[in-house]
Amino acid sequence: MNQLFATFAWLLDPAHYAGPDAIQVRVGEQVEYTLLTLLLASIIALPAGLAIGHTGRGRTLGVQIPAVLRALPTLGLVILLALMVGLGLLAPLIALVILAIPPILAGAYSGLESVDRETVDAARALGMTGWQVLWKVEIPLSLSLITGGLRSAALQAVATWTIAAILPLGGLGRYIFDALPVQDYPKMLAGSMLVIALALVTDALFALLQKVVTPPGVRAGRASLVRAKTTHSHARAALFRHASFIRNER
């Protein structure tokens, strides 16, 4: 209990809201790193994932690469790249972008694949071009899953930037790594609580975004659409949600 009081005292101490190590500065850095990671990973993974989902080509690669990446220990990857590339933001950024690609990629292609084949077939039969099918049918109908992939990637980035603070970087992990050698437990706890709070806020924001981007007709028709689905495709969908875009590291 004393630890808890000490932690809250640390969090409320006005001294921790000033200077380069101020809480708001560290939160800002963490958010900035995370957004940068998401942006760079999206530039690579979204077009690739959409291409795989739309054409069905390159899927084996799109599945296997994330599966292999998932087995990589982030801590090792971050440190290895730092030793190879040098200290600074670049090494961890490369590592984090690599790690953020699988969930975004998987969200995009499994999102597109979740769209009813009959709907896509009908859109083609009506005379939509490939691009029109993609933009007017496939993307709107899978936006929620695509956002889900971004959500996983964002949470992973928040978590991994915390670990990456083992390098001389900013962000909230700084508190934990600065406090570790001197056993400043309240500071470690305060840093941890801030990261957890940031992660939960991120998760909630993306959950909200997923609701917002779901087209109204899909929400309205969910019950009847679900009814039409066969059992095995339900199982398949369940599998997809878990297997494809679960982040490996927090």
């Binding site: 009813d116 009908a122 859109a123 039969a125 939509m128 007017k136 309205a220 028709g221 009847s224 659409l225």
Partner: protein
Amino acid sequence: MIEFRSVTKQFPDGTTAVDNVSLVFPSRKTTVLVGSSGSGKTTMLRMINRMVDPTSGSIEIDGERVSTLDPVKLRRSIGYVMQNSGLLPHRTVVDNIATVPVLRGIKKKEARQRSLRLMDTVGLERALAERYPGQLSGGQQQRVGVARGLAADPNILLMDEPFGAVDPIVRAELQTELVRLQRELDKTIVFVTHDIDEAFLIGDQIVIFRPGGIVAQIGSPADILANPVDAFVASFVGVDRGKRSLHLEGTPETPVVVDSEGRVAGVLAAGSNPLLIAEAVPQPGAGAPAQGAAT
């Protein structure tokens, strides 16, 4: 007029879906392709709007080879109605109907106006216009599907088992309405089904397929019932089981129509001449009074 000349379609896995079919679909008539699953009838349909391209042979619409036409433009000029309606779940009923006109560059407002009129044509209340497909019954969804197929006012309407997924009562309703609609609109309809009764009700020309995409017989419903070319067709249309060979029993005052297995199928309509009907029974065309009760 749509014409198939020695059309064959083989899929990459080696199965032959359509085997050397030559066939003419007359203009402004309804041609029904009927056969069990795997008989290539859907592939036939999809080759007309180039959703599938044939391995060999040629397909012409009014003398123009479809292989020379841009598939996207071709599809926009042909109406397509499919099983489970294939409606876009994220668009309202009017917007679904307006899809093709909007793709062809007609102003959205105008297209929506036209969609509303089409809703009247296919018997949908305008109150449903702003609903989403998921909020409609199966029968209503199919009506929207038909309206969407008609929206660009195409000459050709392709229908792929459009009533296959609705219950029998609604199906009967939709079938009769399609017959009524066709009387008004005079489209060239190609209709795919596995239900021979549906084929006889709707088709001017019936094409029966064997498994493996081979045409077994082409003809009017009456032709096929009267002269099935072989045992396969006879069995497919049900003449061999006596389902369609009816005879009269009972007293001359109150004759009862009975099938070959002794099941009572119905009574004669008031004013019918039992002698005339009895002769007509072995080949009941769509209008024969005894047939409605038997099917």
